[in-house]
């Protein structure tokens, strides 16, 4: 079976041809008491038993979790099977029916609130697949999830807003730091919302490239914090009782949700418990022999208070991946150079997936931003950085060609339809969505009420994250001619 991860992630896998001693190189800690002789182990039909102490003691089966896999430099495609068990449609349906889930740490918890957060890209993918308008698709999807047992179905507009606002702020800070110390690795700032790129960077380029990646969390993870930390309070439930599902355009988001960084020791839970994608929802509908239009109509919930705009998916200026380059450019032009109402004109470089935009002031170029989609363009960007030839201040990097609208888990084109046509259709739909701009009343209130203000320690702790280089282990056994 072909891997479902993005190309960037597939490449980080070393080899699927695993030599016997190497099936999984993750060391597992086994608690044992010291004995004079070695352990005696009996193999029974129902497991392995340690009989060295005189009586049979069942040995615990070693389980490798997705989090283990992420922290390891070995295989990654094998992680898929781990992922499938924890983040599958079957698991989701089970949680709906049993109202219980087992987290990454193996702890089973009761669920009192199931929250589904919808990102706009997979929503549009399903709208196209079932020939519905985005509004109808939203309503049907909300109805469908509620019919399965979801308590709240939310859009992610506020999480996207906070992510954009924080990224804008972070850029200004990095720009100033770079002015103060031109040798520092503050610029170019690279977008952090694509887990395919982040994972690739951690596994293959390590500390060389990680300082450039924006520390601002992706909308998915900000939504996670909002749901588990803010919403759980207003709903008066413990964060662990909330089962939070996000609806996403790519499988790599499952890896992101499973990161240790997004597990709170204090709250004892992950920010996002399950990621479900457009393809999987299509399969779920197919398994019940239904089309999305057969689902009952429902409506999105308004969870944040009176100052929230009408719920529904929102489009962003600049790109179908969330408009990072555009929003940061506009903000920086105004804050740093006093230029308001800048018109952004992107130029295609070597291919339509590598575009750049510049700001000139007094005949001098002062800002240069780029959007680099797809693995080949990531490569060229990384090589430019390595050779010190990157002219950019900011790059919106996404691992999939055409960005998130073409995410790896969006519904595939039907036979006879080209992938390109489908992406163009999705781009047109996205551009026609009601536009949102991030600086809303709700965002302001959340900053003051929940985050102790912009730039506060709390905002930094909740809206930012960190990255970790994964050390490579090169084992001689790996070599094949």
């Amino acid at each position: 079976m072909a891997s479902r991860f993005s190309g960037a992630l597939q490449l980080t896998d070393l080899d699927d041809f695993i030599t016997p001693s190497q099936e999984c190189i993750k060391p597992v800690k086994i608690e044992k008491t010291k004995t004079k002789t070695g352990a005696k182990i009996k193999i029974g039909d129902d497991g392995y038993f340690d009989i060295s102490s005189g009586k049979e003691q069942k040995l615990q089966k070693v389980e490798i979790t997705l989090a283990d896999c992420l922290a390891c430099s070995g295989c990654i495609t094998s992680a898929e099977s781990v992922l499938v068990t924890r983040q599958s449609q079957e698991e989701l349906l089970r949680v709906f029916s049993e109202r219980k889930y087992t987290d990454n740490k193996g702890v089973t918890k009761n669920v009192s609130l199931v929250v589904i957060s919808l990102s706009p890209q997979p929503l549009l993918s399903l709208a196209t697949r079932y020939k519905l308008s985005p509004e109808d698709a939203t309503s049907k999807l909300a109805g469908y999830f509620k019919s399965l047992g979801a308590d709240l179905v939310l859009d992610m507009t506020i999480a996207e807003d906070l992510s954009l606002l924080e990224a804008q702020q972070e850029f200004l800070q990095r720009y100033q730091d770079q002015q103060n110390d031109p040798t520092s690795k503050n610029l170019p700032m690279l977008a952090s919302s694509c887990p395919g790129f982040v994972c690739y960077a951690e596994k293959t380029h390590g500390n060389f490239i990680l300082p450039y990646i924006s520390t601002t969390k992706s909308p998915q993870q900000i939504m996670g914090s909002l749901v588990k930390q803010y919403l759980s309070k207003t709903k008066e439930v413990t964060p662990g009782e909330v089962y939070h599902v996000t609806f996403m355009p790519c499988y790599d988001k499952k890896l992101e949700a499973s990161r240790e960084d997004f597990y709170s020791e204090m709250l004892n839970c992950h920010d996002v418990d399950c990621v479900i994608t457009a393809i999987e929802v299509e399969q779920m509908l197919g398994n019940s022999n239904m089309s999305l239009s057969d689902a009952p109509a429902g409506s999105l919930d308004a969870a944040w208070g009176a100052d929230e705009g009408p719920p529904g998916p929102r489009g962003r200026a600049g790109s179908g991946s969330g408009g990072y380059a555009d929003h940061i450019f506009v903000h920086a032009a105004q804050q740093l150079f006093g230029e308001s109402n800048v018109q952004l004109v992107y130029r295609n470089l070597r291919n339509p997936d590598f575009r750049e935009v510049t700001l000139e002031k007094d005949g001098k170029e002062v800002l240069r931003f780029a959007i680099a989609n797809g693995f080949r363009n990531i490569q060229n960007l990384v090589q430019k950085l390595k050779r010190g030839k990157s002219p950019y201040h900011y790059v919106e990097v996404m691992a999939c060609p055409s960005g998130c609208l073409n995410g790896g888990a969006q519904v595939r084109p039907v036979t006879g339809e080209s992938g390109r046509e489908l992406v163009l259709q999705l781009e047109a739909m996205y551009a026609a969505l009601p536009r949102a701009s991030p600086d809303t009343r709700l965002a302001k209130r959340l900053y003051s009420e929940w985050l102790d203000g912009k730039d506060s320690d709390k905002a930094k702790a909740i809206l930012h994250t960190g990255y970790h280089a994964v050390e490579k282990s090169d084992i001689a056994l790996n070599i094949k001619w």
Partner: protein
């Protein structure tokens, strides 16, 4: 029966010699191997001697070397995950560009007929297409993840920008650029071999491809264009490649390399049974079911695995081979 006469046996490398590559004019060739060096050989009088040794370009085994069609550049693919580009602009050969991106061992490198594109492949299962973007500048045009195992070899069509790759997943894949987004896509998968496909070679027209495999067979594939007269079904706009001939029963071990001479039409194979074999297409060969005759078997061509064979591009029946035992041999085919 034809015979291969040894012109000269060359010892210069320490350890395995993995690959030898003729300069387009056929007066120089390059060799590489386990000792991390590239040696350039030329014919002085009656003797082939080492003219230049390129060192310090790679940190691990050099698996393959390839001359650009103009003969001014030499590319070397190494297990250190890089591909180096060497040129002589300064008067002597120097590495002036390095293609980085493969996750680990690079197994093969090839220049397109125009010299504007390069392809590399390797253990990370990917095939990369690079474009010459300026002096000592190379940009990645595409990263192709079509294979699901180690990719052993890449080869370009002799006249157009069509690329073929051979893999441990037993298949051969072909690619070309999609003008809509300048990205490359897999346009054909050639399935018939039952084990690793180690190497492949186009004939001079590019309408036929020869592949060799660990399954001890050589296969000849023919391109059927969408409007073909033979009635072969082609779905979509891209040609279908059909296996029209399988040479089995000749080789007793894995076949590591195959060379198809664009001047003489002769096929040469390098085999793990230490033998070099030469095949010639029959006079009355049917284009849709061609037949090839084994015209020469050089027993004990080397004392160990023959890793590579390559015909002198000028068509003088000269053949180069190299082996695990550190030897390079130059042969002349006498028909």
């Amino acid at each position: 029966m034809a015979r291969l006469e040894l012109v000269q046996s060359l010892n210069g490398h320490k350890g395995i010699v993995w690959n030898v590559s003729w300069h387009p004019q056929g007066k120089i060739f390059a060799s590489c191997g386990e000792d991390k060096t590239i040696k350039l050989w030329s014919n002085e009088g009656q003797e082939w001697i080492i003219k230049t040794v390129l060192v310090d370009g790679h940190q691990r085994t050099i698996r393959e070397v390839a001359w650009s069609p103009c003969g001014n550049f030499l590319a070397s693919a190494s297990f250190d995950a890089t591909t180096a580009i060497w040129d002589k602009k300064s008067g002597q050969f120097e590495c002036n560009a390095t293609l980085e991106g493969h996750e680990n061992e690079v197994k093969s490198v090839a220049w397109s007929s125009s010299g504007q594109l390069l392809a590399t492949c390797g253990r990370d299962k990917s095939v990369w297409v690079w474009e010459v973007a300026g002096e000592d500048e190379y940009e990645c045009e595409s990263v192709l993840n079509a294979h699901n195992q180690d990719v052993k070899k890449v080869a370009w069509h002799p006249t157009s920008d069509v690329l073929a790759s051979a893999s441990y997943d037993n298949t051969v894949k072909m690619y070309k650029e999609d003008p809509a987004d300048n990205d490359w896509t897999c346009i054909a998968t050639l399935q018939s071999h039952e084990s690793t496909v180690w190497s492949l070679a186009f004939d001079k027209t590019g309408e036929r491809l020869a592949t060799c495999s660990d399954d001890r067979t050589v296969k000849i594939w023919k391109e059927y264009k969408p409007d073909n007269q033979e009635g072969v079904i082609v779905t979509g706009r891209e040609s279908t490649w059909k296996c029209v001939c399988t040479l089995s029963g000749f080789h007793t071990r894995c076949i590591y390399d195959i060379a198809w001479c664009h001047k003489t039409g002769l096929l040469a194979t390098a085999c793990g049974d230490d033998i070099i074999r030469i095949f010639k297409e029959s006079e009355d060969s049917d284009p849709n079911a061609p037949t090839f005759e084994l015209i020469c078997t050089k027993l004990d061509a080397h004392s160990q695995d023959v890793n590579c064979v390559t015909w002198n591009p000028i068509g003088n029946q000269e053949l180069l081979s190299c082996s695990d035992n550190g030897e390079i041999k130059i042969w002349k085919l006498m028909e």
